[in-house]
Symmetry: C2
Subunit: 124 residues, 2 copies
DNA sequence: CTAATTGCAAACAGTTTGCAGGCGT
DNA sequence: ACGCCTGCAAACTGTTTGCAATTAG
């Protein structure tokens, strides 16, 4: 792979994740980054996100029925809470999976995703 | 809403869910239904699926990072297992959510989704 | 007969890709 | 100066919609 360059647009995209500590969709990233680089192209955002996932600095967060979002990788194990009113996604520390689950013979679990849905404090 | 008609294509689509007891994607439904109605249009499949969800006979199953699938409604509470090799989705009876989860103040959980990923018996 | 339903194709939304010019190094 | 990166527009994929022809009741 080619050496990486330090561009304004890439910096603006990385900064978005430092400012906002919740999973962001491509268009949310675009909105945030466009504040410092107004004519930032959507393609650049998608390319940056994919590369950052590739190189391991971002993790894709796929929620049921939602377009993909991204968050910084290296956070400890956690799950997500999706507010049905404001559509924001929050990180919830800890694991909510039962430890003694029973599956039919032959199924080997390698990972799990848990999404809680409901109302966040702002939307009660 | 208008009265419903009994068409070959609609019957073929409903039959698909009676034959295969796992969540089906639109194209899987199309493949199955086309066996009895070869020139079935994709648009018809999408229209039928949306109407069946509307009227409550189907439930959408949205898995992380997957295009939507559908299953018959009225099954008891269960979660899903997604095989990373063959890409099939299986129903897993029972609930895998811990009962004593702690959330920050003010979050009200109304529902939850759990998806297990791994290898199914066929793909070990 | 009458209107709901279908099939096709065009319209859409989100994401990816090709390419010429711009800009780090 | 070299070549990676960006921005634009065109290409793609999955889903929805418009419309004339078909067909159930």
């Amino acid at each position: 792979m080619p050496p990486k360059r330090n561009t304004r647009q890439r910096a603006a995209i990385e900064m978005a994740f430092d400012k906002v500590h919740r999973p962001l969709s491509p268009s949310e990233v675009s909105d945030l980054a466009r504040k410092s680089v107004p004519n930032l192209g959507m393609a650049t955002v998608y390319r940056a996100l994919n590369e950052m996932v590739e190189e391991g600095s971002l993790r894709p967060v796929d929620l049921p029925g939602q377009s993909p979002r991204y968050e910084k990788s290296g956070l400890h194990h956690h799950h997500h809470f999706h507010c049905t009113v404001c559509d924001r996604v929050y990180d919830m520390d800890g694991c909510f999976l039962k430890s003694d689950i029973q599956l039919p013979e032959g199924f080997k679990v390698e990972d799990h995703d848990i999404t809680l849905t409901g109302r966040c404090p702002d939307c009660k």
